[in-house]
C-alpha cells in the first residue's frame, strides 16, 4: 500500500510538472493550481487518504507528500514569474523607438570665452594667495600714467595710444581717459592698504589703435601685484612659472628676457615653450620672425617660444609714490592679455572675433 502511495505521489508530481511547463497564460496557471494543489486537487486527495494508514507509514508518506507540495508550489511560482517576464518582454518589444532621432532641445547658456579665461587666470593666482580686485575703466591720467612713473611728456607714453575723455579741468588739462591697462590699480590698491599686498586685477582696457587680427582697441588685461618685505625677482620667476604650468600644463618650460615697462625695474617678459610643436622646431633665436622661414609652427612661428606676459620688479618710484618705503619693501608686478591666452589655447586666429558677438563663435566655447 505504502509503496503504491509513494509511487502515485511521484507520478502525480511528474504529471503536474509536465502540465505546468506547457502553461503560458496566467489564467491557466490558476486552473493548474486548483486542480493539483486546491482543496479538491489530486495531491490533497492522496494526502487525505493517508489518515487510514498506520502511524509509521503516515509519517513517512506525509513527509513525502509535503515535499511534493513544496516542489509544486515552488515550480508554480517560478513559472508565474517566467510568464510575467515573458509578457513584459513581449510588450517592451512592441515599444521600439528610433534612438537615433534627436533629443528634445534644452536651452544652455555659456560664458563668454574671455570670462572663462579670465577666471582660469585669476583662479590660478587666487590659489597662490592673491585677491581679485577691480578698478574704474575711466581713469585719471594721474593713476594711469603719472603714478606709474610715466610723467607728462615722457616718451614712453607712446607705448600706450590713449582714448581721452572730452573733459577739460580748471587748469586747462585733459586728465580723464579710458585706462590703457589695469595697472592703475597698483597705485590705487597700495594707497588703500599697507603691505603685504597680493592682488590680481582683471578688467577692460582701451587703446587708440586700429584693429587687425592681433590688435583690438578694446580688450581685457589681468594685472598682478605682490609687495612685501623680502619679495625678490626669484619669487617673480617662481610665481609666474607656477602660473604657466597651471594654465598650459605641468611640463611647460618658461623663459624670461629683458623688456621695458616704466613702472618696473628690472623689467622682463615671459615666454613659455611652444605647446603646439613642443619646441621641436628649431630655436632660431627667439625673434621668431626671420624673413626666410616658411610654414612650420603656426603658434610660435618656429621660434619654439611664445610670449605670454610682461612683468618686473615694482619700480622704487611707484612704491615711494604711494608712501611705501622702497628700501624696506620690494615686489613684482605682471600683466597679461586673456584674449591672447584664449587664442593660444583654442587656436583662434583673429582677435576681432571676441567682441563681434557672433553666436557662431561664442557657442564654440
Amino acid at each position: 500500500m505504502s509503496q503504491t502511495t509513494a509511487q502515485s505521489i511521484q507520478e502525480l508530481t511528474n504529471t503536474a510538472l509536465t502540465e505546468l511547463a506547457e502553461i503560458d497564460a496566467p489564467e491557466a496557471l490558476e486552473q493548474w493550481r486548483v486542480s493539483w494543489l486546491g482543496r479538491r486537487g489530486g495531491l490533497t486527495a492522496i494526502l487525505r487518504g493517508l489518515s487510514q494508514l498506520a502511524l509509521e507509514q503516515r509519517r513517512e508518506l506525509g513527509a513525502l507528500g509535503n515535499q511534493a507540495k513544496t516542489t509544486l508550489e515552488e515550480n508554480l511560482e517560478r513559472r508565474a514569474r517566467e510568464i510575467s517576464q515573458a509578457r513584459l518582454a513581449r510588450a517592451a518589444d512592441q515599444e521600439r523607438i528610433d534612438v537615433t532621432l534627436p533629443g528634445r532641445p534644452v536651452a544652455t547658456g555659456r560664458l563668454h570665452p574671455t570670462t572663462q579665461v579670465v577666471r582660469e587666470i585669476t583662479d590660478a593666482f587666487v590659489a597662490m594667495g592673491f585677491s581679485v580686485v577691480e578698478g574704474p575703466e575711466v581713469e585719471w591720467d594721474y593713476y594711469n600714467f603719472e603714478r606709474l612713473n610715466i610723467p607728462q611728456g615722457h616718451p614712453a607714453r607712446d607705448m600706450w595710444n590713449t582714448l581721452w575723455v572730452d573733459y577739460v579741468n580748471e587748469a586747462g588739462q585733459q586728465p580723464m581717459l579710458l585706462r590703457t591697462h589695469t595697472s592703475p590699480m597698483q597705485a590705487r590698491v597700495m594707497e588703500q592698504t599697507s603691505p603685504p599686498v597680493r592682488v590680481v586685477v582683471p578688467g577692460k582696457c582701451y587703446r587708440y589703435e586700429a584693429t587687425d587680427a592681433t590688435h583690438e582697441w578694446h580688450f581685457y588685461q589681468v594685472e598682478g601685484l605682490a609687495v612685501d618685505a623680502g619679495i625678490t625677482f626669484a619669487d617673480l620667476k617662481g610665481t609666474l612659472y607656477e602660473f604657466a604650468r597651471r594654465l598650459f600644463g605641468a611640463e611647460r618650460k618658461v623663459r624670461f628676457r629683458c623688456d621695458y615697462f616704466p613702472f618696473v625695474e628690472p623689467g622682463v617678459d615671459m615666454s613659455i615653450d611652444c605647446f603646439a610643436c613642443q619646441g621641436t622646431t628649431k630655436d632660431n633665436g627667439g625673434s621668431g620672425n626671420s624673413s626666410d622661414n616658411g610654414g612650420g609652427c603656426r603658434i610660435c612661428r618656429d621660434s619654439g617660444w611664445i610670449e605670454i606676459m610682461g612683468a618686473g620688479m615694482v619700480h622704487p618710484q611707484v612704491l615711494a609714490g604711494v608712501g611705501y618705503d622702497p628700501e624696506q619693501y620690494t615686489g613684482f608686478a605682471f600683466g597679461l592679455g586673456p584674449e591672447r591666452i584664449a587664442m593660444l589655447k583654442y587656436g583662434i586666429d583673429d582677435i576681432r572675433h571676441f567682441y563681434s558677438n557672433d553666436l557662431r563663435f561664442l557657442r564654440q566655447f
Binding site: 626669484a234 628690472p266 632660431n284 633665436g285 620688479m313 558677438n357
Partner: protein, 846 residues
C-alpha cells in the same frame, strides 16, 4: 632702427651668425623684430668695363666689353684665355648698355644670363636671358640700383669702388644682413649703430672700435667768423658748432650712400648725408646751416616771439609761439631747434660755407613742440628721450671730419661750445651687493658685477660698505659712472637690470613666494557679478561682451534721452570712429545691435545677455560705473525640433528665466513684479522688479518703435536689466562688518524639512479683469499656513461674466508643528476668501 651688419662690424667683431646675434640681443632687451637678408643675386659678379663703343644701330645705346673675371668666362673663352697666357683678358663678354654714366675702367655690377633681377618695365623679378638688342647680341647686363633692389636709382648704373675685387660674386661683395630692431623707449642708445655695437660687445665679450674724430684745422678761429649765443639755456643745455669753408656740395660717395640706404635713409647730398650718417652712427642729430645765408653770421638760440613764422625744410610755413625754441640769425628764425631746419638757411648746390650744429635740447620741450607741429622727425625721436650733453662735441667732430672728407674745404680752428652746466658732471649711480640680493634674491660676487660693467663700458669705483660690517662682501658698494651713450641708468635698480640681463635670467633662482599671504580683499561686487553671470547662463542665456563706446544715434534708437543735458553721456575727445564717440549710459543699444547682427545669419532662439558697466557722468569726477546685466530674448522657444510644439519666446519665458535666475542668486526677499513704464519698452508689457524697497531690475517687451529702429526680425523681443548695485547695496541688509548681506546670504537660511503632511485645496476665483494676478497670489502666499501657491489656470470667456477673469490655484497648507486637520484648513481658506473679497472683490467661481 635698421642696423646693417656690414656697418656694425666696422666697430665690433661679429662672431655669431645673424640669427644667433638677433637672439642674444632680443634676450638682453633689444628686440630684433626681423633679420633681413639683402642680396640674393645669383650669376651677378663684380665686373670691369674694358671698352665702350657706340652701338651701330642706336644713338642712346653703347656696346661695352666687360671682364667678369676668370671664373665667369664662358667655356670656350676660358680655354682661349688659358692658352693665351699673359693676356689677362678672360671671361670677357659683350654687353649692350643704355646708361649715360658707363665708362671704361669702371668696376660695375655685372649680371650674367640666368641672373634674377628686378625688371623696371614689368615691375617684377625676372630671369635674364641672352637678347639681341638692335641687332647686337648682349651676353649680360650692367645693373642699376633699381634692378638689384638696392634703391630707386635707374638713370645710371651702379659704379663700384676701384678696389672692388674683380669676379667676386656680388652677394659676397654687396650682400648684407640688416637687423630690424624694435627699440623700447628707454634704450635710446640702440637708436645708433655705435650704441648697438657697445651692446653687442658687452654680450659677446668684444671691444668697440671708436670712429676717428680728429682732423686738421686751418685759418682764423671759428669765434672770429661766427657769433653764437644761447638766450634760453633751460631749453638748450649745450650748443656746439664748427665751421667748414670752401667745400663743394655734390652727391655723396657710393659707400656713404649705400650705408644710408641700407639703414633706411635716402641720400641727398654730401653734407646733409654726413649729418644723417653721424646721427645714425652716434645718435646725435646735427644740422648744417649755409653760413652765407645766416644774417650777420650770428646765431641766437631763443624762444620764438609771438607772431614769428618760419618756412621749414618740408615747405610748410609754420607759426611759432614762445614755447617754440628756434635757432635764429640776427633777425629771423632759421630753424626749429632739434626738430627741423628752415628753408631760408638750407644747404644748396652753391653752398660753400657750412656752420655745423651739434646741440642738446630739452627733451620735454622738444617732444611737446614736435607734437604741436606734428613733426616726428628722426631728430625728435632722439632728443625727446634725453640725449646726454657729453655727446654733442664728439659727434660734432666726427661729422666735421667726414664733411671735409667727402666735400673738401677748410675747417676753421676750434669749435664753439656753449655749455653752462659743464661743471656739473653726470652723477654716479651707487650699487650695493646687499640691494642686489634684496631685488634679485641671489648672491653675486663683486667681481661678477664688475665683469658686467666692464663689458658694458661702464666705469666704477669700489667703496667699502659699513666698516663695522663683518660681511664685507654684501656691504661692498660701487659708484658707477655711466658712459655718454647710455641715458637710461639713473638708479640702483637700473644697474641691477644691467647685471641680470647680461648674466642672464636663467641664472637667477626660481622660488615660490614665502612671505605671508595677506588678508583677502573683500570684493562683494565682483562676487555678485560672477554669480549673476552664472545664474543667467544656468537658465539658458548666452553671455556676450560688446564695446562700451556707442554713438548718439544708437542711443536714440533705444529712446535714451541722450540729448537731454542731465542724461548726456560722456564723450570721447579722440574717437576712433563716428560709431564710438560716447561711453554708454545703457547696455541696451549694444545688446540690441548684437541681436540684430545675429538675426542676419542665425535662426535663433536668441537668449543673450551682457554683464558690463554703464557710465554715468558726474561733474569734475570720474563717471559712476554701474554694473548692469541686460538680456534680450527673442525667436522661437526652442530650436526647430520634430518633438517640440514651438511658439515664440515671450514675456513670460523671459520672466520665468529671470525668476529662476533670481532664485538661484537667492535674494534677501522674494522679488516683486509690478507694472511699470519705460521709454524703450511696451507700455502694457513692462514690469519693474523689486526686492524690498529697491528696484533691482526691469523686464518688458520691446516697444514697437524700438523693434522697428533695430529692424528686428523676431517679434516679440523681450528685454531685461538687473541693477547689481541695487541688488548689493541694501542698507537694511548690511551687517555690522560693513559687508552687506546681499543676494545669496539671507535667502539661504535653512528651513527644517517638516514631518507633517501638507493639505491640498484647489481654489477658482473670479476677479475683475484689471486685478493683477500677483496681488491675489500675494494675499494667498502671505498666510503663515500657506506653504505654496500655484496658479494653474487663467480663463476669460463664456463661462465667466464679461469684464472678469477666472484664476485657479493649487493651495498647499502646512504647519511645521503639527498635522493640520480639515476643519483648520477650511477655516483658513474661508478667512483667505474673505480677505480676497474685501480687498480685491474676488468671488468663488461656481
Amino acid at each position: 632702427m635698421q642696423v646693417p651688419l656690414s656697418w656694425l662690424q666696422e666697430y665690433v667683431d661679429l662672431d655669431l651668425t645673424p640669427t644667433e646675434l638677433a637672439h642674444r640681443l632680443t634676450m638682453a632687451g633689444v628686440e630684433v623684430g626681423e633679420v633681413i637678408e639683402s642680396g640674393g643675386w645669383p650669376n651677378c659678379f663684380v665686373g670691369e668695363v674694358l671698352e665702350v663703343r657706340p652701338h651701330p644701330n642706336a644713338d642712346n645705346l653703347r656696346l661695352c666689353r666687360v671682364n667678369a673675371g676668370a671664373a665667369n668666362a664662358p667655356e670656350s673663352d676660358r680655354t682661349a684665355g688659358e692658352t693665351a697666357t699673359g693676356d689677362g683678358v678672360v671671361g670677357v663678354m659683350e654687353v649692350v648698355c643704355g646708361a649715360p654714366n658707363v665708362a671704361a675702367g669702371q668696376k660695375i655690377c655685372f649680371a650674367q644670363v640666368g641672373a634674377r633681377l628686378h625688371n623696371p618695365h614689368s615691375g617684377r623679378p625676372e630671369t635674364l636671358k641672352a637678347a639681341r638688342i638692335r641687332g647686337v647680341v648682349s651676353e649680360g647686363m650692367i645693373c642699376s640700383e633699381l634692378e638689384l633692389g638696392l634703391g630707386a636709382g635707374h638713370e645710371g648704373i651702379v659704379v663700384l669702388p676701384p678696389d672692388a675685387p674683380l669676379g667676386m660674386p656680388l652677394d659676397d661683395y654687396l650682400g648684407d644682413t640688416i637687423l630690424d630692431l624694435e627699440v623700447t623707449p628707454n634704450r635710446l642708445d640702440c637708436f645708433s649703430i655705435l650704441g648697438v655695437a657697445h651692446e653687442v660687445a658687452a654680450l659677446t665679450g668684444r671691444t668697440v672700435r671708436e670712429p676717428e674724430i680728429s682732423y686738421a684745422e686751418a685759418g682764423p678761429p671759428i669765434t672770429e667768423q661766427a657769433a653764437i649765443s644761447v638766450a634760453d639755456p633751460d631749453l638748450c643745455h649745450r650748443y656746439t658748432a664748427s665751421l667748414i669753408q670752401g667745400l663743394k656740395i655734390g652727391p655723396s660717395p657710393q659707400w656713404l650712400q649705400d650705408r644710408l640706404t641700407r639703414a633706411g635713409l635716402r641720400p641727398i647730398s654730401n653734407v646733409v648725408d654726413v649729418t644723417n650718417y653721424v646721427m645714425l652712427e652716434f645718435n646725435q642729430p646735427l644740422h648744417a646751416f649755409d653760413l652765407d645765408k645766416v644774417r650777420d653770421r650770428t646765431i641766437i638760440v631763443r624762444r620764438a616771439t609771438p607772431g614769428e613764422t618760419l618756412e621749414t625744410l618740408d615747405g610748410v610755413a609754420r607759426e611759432l609761439t614762445p614755447d617754440t625754441l628756434v635757432i635764429a640769425d640776427a633777425r629771423d628764425p632759421i630753424g626749429i631747434g632739434g626738430i627741423i631746419g628752415g628753408a631760408n638757411s638750407e644747404i644748396g648746390p652753391d653752398t660753400t660755407s657750412v656752420l655745423l650744429e651739434s646741440a642738446t635740447f630739452n627733451n620735454y620741450n622738444n617732444r611737446r613742440t614736435a607734437e604741436t607741429f606734428r613733426l616726428r622727425t628722426d631728430a625728435t625721436q632722439r632728443f625727446e628721450k634725453g640725449l646726454r650733453p657729453e655727446l654733442a662735441p664728439i659727434a660734432l667732430r666726427r661729422a666735421t671730419r667726414l664733411i671735409q672728407q667727402v666735400a673738401g674745404g677748410v675747417i676753421a680752428q676750434g669749435i664753439i661750445d656753449i655749455y653752462p652746466d659743464a661743471d656739473k658732471p653726470h652723477p654716479t649711480v651707487p650699487l650695493t651687493l646687499k640691494r642686489l640680493k634684496q631685488i634679485l634674491g641671489m648672491d653675486l660676487a663683486i667681481e661678477q658685477v664688475e665683469d658686467v660693467f666692464r663689458a658694458l663700458g661702464f666705469q666704477w669705483e669700489r667703496r667699502d660698505g659699513n666698516a663695522n660690517d663683518n660681511d664685507t662682501d654684501s656691504g661692498a658698494a660701487l659708484a658707477v659712472t655711466v658712459p655718454y651713450w647710455r641715458n637710461d641708468i639713473n638708479l640702483e635698480e637700473d644697474l641691477i637690470e644691467e647685471v641680470v640681463r647680461i648674466i642672464g635670467y636663467d641664472n637667477v633662482p626660481t622660488t615660490m613666494l614665502s612671505t605671508p599671504i595677506p588678508h583677502q580683499q573683500p570684493a562683494p561686487m565682483t562676487q555678485l557679478r560672477e554669480r549673476v553671470k552664472e545664474a543667467l547662463t544656468a537658465v539658458g542665456l548666452q553671455e556676450t561682451i560688446s564695446y562700451p563706446l556707442v554713438n548718439l544715434e544708437a542711443l536714440e534708437r533705444v529712446n535714451y534721452p541722450a540729448q537731454e543735458p542731465e542724461s548726456r553721456p560722456l564723450k570721447i575727445a579722440n574717437p576712433l570712429s563716428a560709431g564710438q564717440e560716447y561711453l554708454r549710459p545703457t547696455l541696451r543699444a549694444s545688446l540690441l545691435s548684437t541681436l540684430s547682427y545675429n538675426e542676419g545669419h542665425n535662426e535663433g532662439p536668441f537668449r543673450l545677455f551682457e554683464q558690463g558697466r554703464v557710465f554715468l557722468p558726474r561733474p569734475d569726477q570720474l563717471p559712476e560705473e554701474r554694473e548692469v546685466a541686460a538680456g534680450v530674448i527673442a525667436g522661437l522657444r526652442s530650436e526647430p525640433s520634430w518633438l517640440v510644439d514651438n511658439g515664440p519666446l515671450d514675456f513670460f519665458d523671459a520672466k520665468g528665466m529671470l525668476a529662476s535666475a533670481l532664485a538661484l542668486l537667492g535674494l534677501p526677499e522674494p522679488p516683486v513684479w509690478e507694472p511699470a513704464e519705460d521709454p524703450a519698452l511696451h507700455p502694457g508689457r513692462c514690469a519693474r522688479i523689486k526686492c524690498g524697497p529697491a528696484q533691482i531690475g526691469i523686464l518688458g517687451e520691446l516697444h514697437p518703435t524700438v523693434v522697428e529702429a533695430f529692424d528686428l526680425k523676431h517679434r516679440p523681443a523681450t528685454l531685461f536689466e538687473l541693477y547689481l548695485d541695487q541688488m548689493l547695496a541694501r542698507p537694511d541688509t548690511a551687517d555690522k562688518s560693513g559687508q552687506s548681506a546681499s543676494a545669496g546670504q539671507r535667502g539661504r537660511n535653512f528651513r527644517s524639512l517638516t514631518r507633517f503632511p501638507a493639505a491640498h485645496r484647489d481654489l477658482a476665483l473670479v476677479v475683475a479683469e484689471d486685478v493683477p494676478a500677483g496681488q491675489v497670489q500675494a494675499i494667498l502666499t502671505r498666510h503663515r499656513l500657506v506653504e505654496r501657491v500655484e496658479l494653474f489656470d487663467l480663463y476669460t470667456g463664456e463661462n465667466v461674466p464679461p469684464g472678469t477673469k477666472s484664476l485657479a490655484f493649487h493651495l498647499y497648507f502646512q504647519s511645521p508643528e503639527r498635522t493640520l486637520n480639515a476643519e483648520e484648513v477650511n477655516r483658513t481658506l474661508e478667512g483667505l476668501l474673505r480677505t480676497l473679497q474685501r480687498d480685491l472683490g474676488a468671488t468663488i467661481r461656481n
